[in-house]
Assembly symmetry: C2
Homo-oligomer: 354 residues x 2
């Protein structure tokens, strides 16, 4: 079916600042460990990467939250580190320590040797998942594709995994900036072709997650993270299936740089909960839509408090379109799934009456 | 000796925006694991808390960085969690996992039962350390006393240790705000009397570390962190030994709230490296001095780059007094100690010529 047959397009409309009947909502990491049915599928799949690499199972978990909640978008189930894995770094997950790479890249020689993955070859399993999910969604809601930002991917590739102090990649940034720039260029090209392939396979919106841009100084953020997201935005397919494909940039901890991010030509910005959404809207004006930004920890509270906090965010954004409700970061593992219903219903309920 | 006999008071003068000959510099966590002599003393002491609780050894490590570097201040060697430990929570350190408490506080009953520690009783070892260090410093440079902020202490007390998602304390914040407020009030009172006792024992400046204020939304930051730091600032002894005792507030990740922080009546604000110091100075005007803010990761770079980055921070702050050079966060464990000399000398060298 063509996307013009989308039964619910308010997510795409809000990202493009077109009128909507009620504020659309989805939840970062909505397909995840807080859901018992996810844990069941995950156990059947084997490892986390086995789950990502199996298009049918990836589709199964992508659709699970849509069965429970009245969500306005689905997001491809995958990992942000598929590109470095496809470059040959050997992604694996060690219990309790997060993602790791067998062969981190630490010098210009290793960076020069990195191949640019072909999305329909080494990353074919992702494109297959997009195709299967689109077929199974059958026009119910739009499908979001995504990637990590070049800077964020580079942090894992250079550090070899998660890090608290970013010593290795920042050492490279200060002492060997040309090496890091080459790595970021290669990543920007790979992310562009990866997202374009997701769009060709059926993704109806795309999002770039810059999880670690917020650990940079303002000067270095512009030079080593934003510049490469800008390249990606410029290189993206912006129309597909007769519709515009909105692109959203999200730098966690990057609230002070919203104006600069809005200048990249993206359609929307993700906002974490450390920002006031009313201030943020004032700062970006009519340039972009905003997605966010309730503290994920509100979901530990009682239904009454959840409804109040939802109201505050909706009220903070104010009248008019251009708002996609979301948390300010991914949902936590130990949240009671019933509380997500409270949130989703409250968003639709209050915003349709406002 | 009286503090009027201080041989080097440029640190105190800069915090009070009085003229200085060259920009003063000290380094957060300057007495720490990156120094081989620290590791040697630490091994002799036994556990980390054994080291904190032994005034002679605490003095020894406090003075170690002053032997190596031309620093303009010493900072009491201690832990930020001494107050909750003195309240009976049972602080301990598990290898690689940071501080933990045997009996976290999770409800209003436990909070009501918390005693307010007497600084000269349960925390006498800290005051003894201050007295020994002052004697051994012999007027060379001023001594900084410090405490964690109420919010930051509360995160450890409620979570039971370090946390990535702050689910328990934020759950309390949303669902049982009165319980959390009582805890924060008790902590504000305890921190005030703790810092006043440090001043009485000889601390010549004090600093409040709000390590985790930056994980809050703007609304919650004001209500649950800043309000209690405000109480502390209002309750502090501001003169001792014939001199003003400057107070510095530092919220990591709190760069967007500098104007609000400056209104507390403190003398200076600590700045992390995600802020541009020129912007920060413009925003706070003449209200407070600024301390910071080089990315600690610059110390992984070569001496040439370190000097360049020092120059950028000094140039960013610009002409006139009111700047104390520091890193934007504590020095990392794996830094080459020689690079700290490069930094310290560069600060004095460039700023005396500017």
């Amino acid at each position: 079916m063509s996307s013009s047959e989308l039964k619910n397009d308010r997510f795409l409309r809000a990202l493009l600042k077109q009128p909507v009947d009620t504020t659309p909502v989805w939840i970062m990491r909505q397909a995840g460990r807080y859901l018992p049915e996810y844990r069941e599928t995950r156990a059947r799949a084997g490892s986390f990467m086995d789950l990502c690499e199996n298009p049918d199972l990836a589709c199964e978990v992508t659709l699970q939250p849509l069965e429970r909640y009245d969500l306005d978008a689905a997001i491809l189930f995958s990992d942000i580190l598929t590109i470095p894995d496809a470059m040959g770094l050997g992604l694996y997950f060690s219990e309790g320590e997060g993602p790791k790479f067998k062969t981190p890249v630490r010098d210009i020689g290793a960076i020069r040797n990195l191949p640019t993955p072909d999305p329909e070859q080494e990353l074919r399993y992702v494109m297959d998942a997009v195709r299967v999910i689109r077929r199974e969604l059958n026009g119910r809601v739009p499908l979001i594709g995504f990637s990590g930002s070049p800077w964020t991917l580079a942090t894992y590739m250079v550090e070899g995994g998660t890090t608290k102090d970013f010593g290795k990649i920042k050492g490279m940034m200060y002492d060997a900036p040309a090496a890091l720039q080459l790595l970021l260029e290669k990543l920007a090209d790979s992310v562009s072709s990866y997202l374009n392939a997701q769009i060709a396979a059926g993704a109806q919106a795309v999002m770039v997650f810059d999880t670690w841009g917020g650990v940079l100084s303002p000067e270095k953020y512009q030079e080593f993270s934003l510049a490469y997201m800008q390249r990606i935005v410029s290189g993206l397919t912006r129309h597909s299936e007769g519709r515009q494909v909105p692109v959203t940039l999200f730098t966690k901890g990057g609230g002070q740089w919203l104006e600069l991010m809005a200048e990249t030509g993206c359609d929307a910005l993700g906002l974490d909960w450390t920002q006031d959404i009313a201030d943020a809207r004032q700062r970006v004006g009519n340039k972009v839509a905003l997605q966010g930004n309730m503290d994920p920890c509100v979901l530990y509270a009682s239904p009454e408090i959840i409804r109040e906090e939802v109201k505050k965010v909706l009220h903070g954004y104010g009248k008019g379109t251009g708002h996609v409700f979301n948390l300010g970061h991914g949902i936590h593992q130990h949240i009671n799934p019933d509380n997500v219903s409270v949130l989703v219903d409250a968003v639709h309920d209050y915003s349709s009456k406002a």
